[in-house]
Symmetry: C2
Subunit: 112 residues, 2 copies
DNA sequence: TTCTTATACATAAGAAAATTATGTATATTA
DNA sequence: TAATATACATAATTTTCTTATGTATAAGAA
């Protein structure tokens, strides 16, 4: 495969953010959505995604609802109440991180 | 320390970028510079920094020059010729990554 | 009709890159 | 004189990813 490079530490927050705006999503859908939104720049591998979803569920931030569509299994995830709160925090953290990185890498960029 | 994490994968590029603009720096100086530039947001730990410097040196991207100041050791690092070329590539990659992350996290932000 | 690609889940082995803990040593400040 | 700052380093551990592998169904191409 033609690579990608998902920077470590941001996957969980990306998942939470997508679920926040989409309501509910299943794993495969998340990989496609991220690929779309980043024009192929970020490719979430299954080996990273599924364990991440399971962990977020174990932490009580997501819950699952199994569905069968076209005779194929889908596991829809959505934020729990706690998950919604955490999403706010983690998004703020990630945004702050992005700003810091920008400031380091290219102080000329301005953010609106 | 009330630090914040989350710069995984980008440390090497940050080091290269700083050396590109500063000419030469020693390890401790790098940690302080990053802390300054990010207003305490990013704290590079020694356990991350020194192995990273050693690895970049082993890859031929940096070279070292030992100095003694106030009876204390300093190891000044600077980019090799190869290091200068690599810095351009890695910076472009990191900038692309930052744009992607922004697009995911906050599509409203504009970059100039 | 059969092979490939897409959809959809999962886990195990290994690598990469951090954190945390520890160590040495000198200089400065409270 | 004790604590903090400066300056290096490494080992053990953890986190988080990649790569490889596995199961199964559906759709499309050859």
């Amino acid at each position: 495969m033609g690579n990608s490079k998902l920077y470590k530490g941001s996957l969980n927050t990306i998942i939470l953010k997508l679920l926040e705006e989409q309501g509910k999503m299943y794993g495969y859908e998340i990989t496609q959505k991220v690929k779309d939104l980043t024009k192929g720049e970020l490719n979430i591998t299954e080996g990273a995604l599924y364990p991440a979803l399971h962990k977020l569920e174990a932490e009580g931030l997501l819950n699952v609802e199994v569905a069968k569509v076209d005779n194929r299994l889908r596991k829809y995830y959505k934020l729990t109440e706690q998950g919604e709160k955490e999403t706010v925090n983690r998004l703020a953290e990630l945004e702050e991180f992005i700003r810091s990185m920008q400031n380091l890498v290219n102080p000329n960029w301005s953010i609106e």
